[in-house]
C-alpha cells in the first residue's frame, strides 16, 4: 500500500532522507524509528504530500503522490504530533468539514461521525468549541477525524503526546484491530515499548538512511546480545554513529 523508490530529500547540501526504498503491504502495522533529526518527519511529509521529494517517488495504493496526488490522498489519513484544528469550530463541526473536503456523502457522514467520536471518547464534548479542549482531547479528535473518510493507509507521527494511559491503550487497540481489517499503519514513534508491542515490521532510520528493516524479532536478532527493542535500538544507532565517524 505504501511504496517508496529511492526517495530522497535534500535541503541545500544536506540530505535529510537518502534513497529510501520501502514496500509496506496492506494490513501491516509499520513502525518507523530513529533518533531526533534522523529524517522521520521529512519522510512522513513526503509520504503525505506535504513536501516534494528532491528525487524518487512515493505511491499510496499504487497512486503516485506526484502524478496523482488527489487519488493518493483519498486513501490516506494523517495524525500529526501537534494537530492543527480549527479552534472556533466544535468537534462535530470539524467532522462535518473533514467530510466535505473528502467528498463524503451525507449518509456516510451520518453513519460514521458519532461512532468515531464515541470510539475516541470525544462524543461528550462534540458540541464544544475546540479551543476549550485539552491537548489530549484534541489528539483524540484528530484521530476521529482521520478515520472519518475510511482511509486505507494511516500515517501517524508520534501520536502519544498528551494522551493518558487509558487513551493510549484505546488508540493502540483501535489501530491494531483496524490493521486486521486491512488498514495499513505507518507510525513514527519514540516509544519503543509501544513499537515492540504493536509493530508487524520495524524500520530504523539514522542520518537519513534506512539502516535496518525487519520484524521486531529480526531486528532484535541483529544485536550482539538479546534485549528489549529499546536496548537493540540504542546499540544499532550507536553502531551507525561510530561507522559514520570512522568514515
Amino acid at each position: 500500500m505504501i511504496t517508496t523508490r529511492r526517495l530522497t530529500k535534500r535541503y541545500g547540501a544536506k540530505a535529510a532522507v537518502r534513497e529510501l526504498d520501502l514496500e509496506i503491504p496492506r494490513g501491516q502495522f509499520f513502525c518507523f524509528l530513529g533518533p531526533n533529526g534522523a529524517g522521520k518527519t521529512t519522510t512522513i511529509k513526503m509520504l503525505t504530500g506535504l513536501a516534494r521529494p528532491t528525487s524518487g517517488t512515493v505511491a499510496i495504493g499504487g497512486h503516485d503522490m506526484a502524478g496523482e496526488p488527489l487519488a493518493a490522498k483519498r486513501l490516506l489519513g494523517f495524525v500529526p504530533d501537534h494537530p492543527f484544528l480549527y479552534d472556533r469550530l466544535t468537534g462535530r463541526e470539524l467532522m462535518r468539514f473533514v467530510a466535505g473536503i473528502y467528498r463524503m456523502t451525507e449518509d456516510d457522514l451520518a453513519a460514521r461521525c458519532e461512532p468515531l467520536l464515541a470510539a475516541f471518547d470525544v462524543l461528550h464534548a462534540a458540541d464544544q468549541l475546540i479551543q476549550d479542549y485539552s491537548h489530549g482531547m484534541r489528539q483524540k479528535l484528530s484521530f476521529a477525524s482521520c478515520f472519518l473518510h475510511d482511509p486505507q493507509v494511516v500515517v501517524v507521527d508520534e501520536p502519544w503526546v498528551g494522551l493518558d494511559p487509558k487513551s493510549i491503550h484505546k488508540v493502540k487497540t483501535y489501530l491494531k484491530e483496524r490493521t486486521r481489517e486491512g488498514l495499513t499503519v505507518f507510525m513514527s514513534t519514540h516509544s519503543l515499548a509501544i513499537a515492540e508491542e504493536t509493530a508487524d515490521r520495524v524500520g530504523i532510520i539514522h542520518e537519513g538512511r534506512l539502516r535496518h528493516l525487519g520484524t521486531v524479532a529480526e531486528i532484535k536478532a541483529l544485536a550482539r546480545r538479546p534485549g528489549s527493542l529499546e536496548e537493540v535500538f540504542l546499540e544499532l544507532t550507536r553502531e551507525a554513529e561510530e561507522a559514520l565517524v570512522d568514515a
Binding site: 504530500g49 513536501a51 494523517f78 472556533r88 463541526e93 462535518r96 468539514f97 467528498r103 451525507e106 449518509d107
Partner: protein, 586 residues
C-alpha cells in the same frame, strides 16, 4: 448544538440529500462561516465596556465621515451657483466625477498592494494550510476556498470608510433608490479584481523568489517602489497651486485618473450612472467589472494550480536550509549595538528584532509603510509655497504634524500592538524566567519608542525641511512628534498587554480584534486632541489669549494640556496592561 441544527446549518446550498456528495469548496466556506459565527458569539466573553466603547466609537466615526462628506458635497453643489447664479456650472459638476475617479484609483492601488500581503499570509502562512494541502482537494479549490478570506480581510475597512461617503453622495445628488443596492453590487467585483491581481503577484513572487536571499529582495522591492512612485508622480504632478490655483489645473490633474482601462474608472462611471438614473450605463459598467473580476479570478485559480504547491514547498524548504551565521551580518552588528543594554533586556530586544525580520509578512508591510512615508515627503515640495504665506504656514505645520502622527499611529497599531500577543504559546518561557512581566512590558515600550522614533523623527525633520518651516514651527513639530511617539507606543504596548491574544500567530488578525480596534480609536482621539491643542497655539492664539487674558498663559495652558495628555496616554494603559499580565496564569 443539537444534531438537527448541525444538519440544517451544514446543508451548504440547500437541504442535505442523504446520497449527495459534499463539496470541498462548500465545506471550506461553510466551516469559515461557522468560525465567524462562533467568533461573533465569543464577543460576549469580552469586557462589556470595551465592546460598548469600540461599537460606539466605530459608529461615531462612521457618522462623522458621513456628515463631513455630506457638508463637503453640499458645499460643492452650491458653490458655483451662489457666485454665478442658478443654472450655472457648480464645482460639483466640474470636480466630483473626477474626485470619484481619484478616490477609486487610490483605493484600487492600495487594495492591490495590501492584497499581495494578505494573500501571502492567507495562502502560505496560515496554520490551516498544511491541513488543507493534505486533503484530496484540487489546488484551485483550495485557492478559491482561501481567496474569499483575502477579499474579506483586505476590503472590509474600505467598505466601512467608503460607504458613508458614497451614501452622502447619493443623498446630495438625490439619486434613485436603486443607487444604494447598486453600490453594493459594484463593490463586490471591484474588490475581487485587486484581490485576484494581488494573489497572482504573491504566488508568482513565492514561486520564483522563495529561498532567494532577503537583502537583494528588499533592495529590489524598494527600487520597484521608487520607480513606481516616480512614474505616478510624473503622471500626476500638479502645477504650483499657490501661483496658478485654478480649478482647471485641478481638473486636468484629476482627469489623468480617468483611463478607460482602469477598473477604478469603471467603478466611478458606474456609480455616477447609477446616481443619475442611467440604468443602461450603470449595468454596462457593472457587467464590465463583473466580467473582468471573473476572468481574473479564473486566471488566479489557474495560477494556483501551476504555482501554489511548488512555491509552498520551496518556502518550507528554504526555511529549513538557511544557516544563520553567528555574530555576522546585520544581526551581528545589531548585537554589538545592543551590548550597551543590560541583560535580559538585551536578549529580549535581540529576539524581537530577529523575529520581526524573519517574518516576511511583517517586514513586507513595513517596506510598504516606508514607501508611503517617502511618497508623502516627496510630495510636500508641492505645498512649499503655501507654507511661506502667514496663516497658511501655521496650517501647513499643523497638517504636516497631524499626518506624521497618523503615520505613527498606523505603525504602532500595526506593529507595536501585537508585540505582546505574538509571544503567543511561548509566553510560558518568559513567564517562567526570572525576569518579571514589568521588565518585559517596559522593554516592549522602549523597543517601540526606539524603533518608531527613527522613522517619525526623520519624517518630521524631512517634512519640515521640504516645507521650509521656520525655527519655531520646526521645534514645535519635533517636540510634538517625540511626545506622540512615547504616548502612542505606551498606548499600543499597554492595550496589547491588557487585551493579549495568545492564540493567534498572525499579527494582522491580532490587530483586527476588539483590542486592536480600541487601540486605533484611542490613538485617533489622542491625535485629534493634540492637533486641536496645537491649533489653539498656532492658529487661534489670539482668541485663546482673550479667554485666558494673556498670550503666554494661553501657550502654557496648551503645552501643559499636551504634556498631561501624553503622560496619561502612556502611563495609564501601561499600568493596566502590566497589572493584567501579572495576573496571567500559564
Amino acid at each position: 448544538m443539537p444534531d438537527g441544527e448541525l444538519v440544517a446549518v451544514a446543508a451548504v446550498g440547500g437541504r442535505p440529500a442523504p446520497g449527495r456528495r459534499l463539496s470541498p469548496l462548500a465545506a471550506m466556506l461553510w466551516a469559515k462561516g461557522r468560525v465567524a459565527r462562533h467568533s461573533l458569539a465569543l464577543v460576549r466573553r469580552e469586557s462589556r465596556l470595551k465592546v460598548a466603547f469600540v461599537s460606539v466609537s466605530a459608529l461615531l466615526l462612521w457618522i462623522g465621515i458621513f456628515v463631513f462628506a455630506l457638508l463637503g458635497l453640499r458645499l460643492f453643489e452650491t458653490f458655483g451657483a451662489e457666485v454665478l447664479g442658478e443654472g450655472a456650472l457648480t464645482v460639483s459638476d466640474l470636480v466630483v466625477a473626477r474626485m470619484l475617479s481619484v478616490f477609486a484609483l487610490a483605493l484600487f492601488v492600495m487594495l492591490v498592494f495590501s492584497n499581495v500581503l494578505v494573500a501571502f499570509a492567507t495562502l502560505y502562512r496560515s496554520r490551516e494550510v498544511p491541513f488543507l494541502v493534505l486533503a484530496p482537494v484540487t489546488r484551485s479549490s483550495f485557492f478559491l476556498g482561501r481567496f474569499y478570506e483575502c477579499v474579506a480581510f483586505s476590503s472590509w475597512a474600505s467598505a466601512f470608510l467608503g460607504s458613508p461617503i458614497l451614501l452622502a453622495y447619493g443623498l446630495t445628488t438625490r439619486a434613485p433608490l436603486l443607487f444604494y443596492p447598486m453600490l453594493a453590487a459594484f463593490y463586490v467585483p471591484f474588490v475581487v479584481i485587486p484581490a485576484a491581481i494581488g494573489a497572482v503577484v504573491a504566488m508568482a513572487l513565492v514561486r520564483y523568489l522563495a529561498g532567494a536571499r532577503r537583502g537583494p529582495l528588499v533592495g529590489f522591492g524598494l527600487l520597484a517602489l521608487a520607480l513606481l512612485f516616480s512614474y505616478f508622480r510624473g503622471k500626476l504632478r500638479s502645477p504650483d497651486l499657490a501661483d496658478t490655483a485654478t480649478i482647471q489645473a485641478i481638473v486636468d490633474v484629476m482627469g489623468r485618473t480617468q483611463s478607460p482601462y482602469l477598473p477604478s474608472h469603471w467603478l466611478a462611471r458606474g456609480v455616477l450612472s447609477a446616481a443619475t438614473g442611467e440604468a443602461g450605463d450603470a449595468l454596462f459598467y457593472f457587467l464590465l467589472l463583473a466580467a473582468n473580476a471573473l476572468l481574473l479570478l479564473w486566471l488566479a485559480a489557474q495560477a494556483a494550480e501551476a504555482w501554489f504547491f511548488t512555491g509552498w514547498s520551496a518556502l518550507a524548504d528554504g526555511g529549513e536550509t538557511r544557516r544563520r551565521g553567528r555574530g555576522r551580518g546585520p544581526f551581528g552588528a545589531l548585537d554589538v549595538v545592543l551590548r550597551v543594554l543590560p541583560q535580559p533586556t538585551r536578549a529580549l530586544m535581540a529576539k524581537d528584532f530577529r523575529l520581526f525580520w524573519r517574518d516576511p509578512a511583517q517586514w513586507a508591510q513595513f517596506v510598504l509603510f516606508f514607501g508611503i512615508m517617502a511618497l508623502y515627503v516627496a510630495n510636500l515640495g508641492e505645498a512649499r509655497s503655501f507654507a511661506r504665506h502667514g496663516t497658511w504656514g501655521a496650517w501647513a505645520t499643523l497638517l504636516n504634524l497631524a499626518a506624521c502622527m497618523l503615520i505613527l499611529a498606523s505603525l504602532t497599531s500595526r506593529f507595536v500592538y501585537p508585540l505582546v500577543s505574538l509571544e503567543g504559546p511561548r509566553i510560558w518561557m518568559l513567564g517562567l524566567a526570572p525576569v518579571g512581566m514589568r521588565r518585559i512590558v517596559w522593554q516592549k515600550l522602549w523597543l517601540s519608542v526606539g524603533s518608531t522614533s527613527v522613522f517619525t523623527v526623520s519624517l518630521a525633520v524631512l517634512s519640515a525641511l521640504r516645507l521650509d518651516l521656520d525655527g519655531t514651527s520646526f521645534g514645535i513639530s519635533l517636540v510634538a512628534i517625540v511626545g506622540a511617539t512615547v504616548a502612542l507606543s505606551g498606548l499600543a504596548v499597554g492595550l496589547g498587554s491588557l487585551y493579549p491574544n495568545f492564540r493567534e500567530d498572525n499579527p494582522s488578525r491580532i490587530v483586527s480584534g476588539m483590542g486592536g480596534t480600541l487601540n486605533f480609536i484611542l490613538s485617533m482621539v489622542y491625535i485629534v486632541l493634540v492637533t486641536l491643542a496645537l491649533a489653539a497655539v498656532l492658529l487661534w492664539n489670539d482668541g485663546l489669549a482673550r479667554v485666558l487674558g494673556d498670550r503666554g498663559q494661553a501657550m502654557a495652558a496648551a503645552a501643559a494640556f499636551i504634556v498631561v495628555l501624553t503622560a496619561l496616554a502612556c502611563w495609564l494603559p501601561m499600568r493596566l496592561g502590566l497589572r493584567n499580565l501579572e495576573r496571567v496564569e500559564f
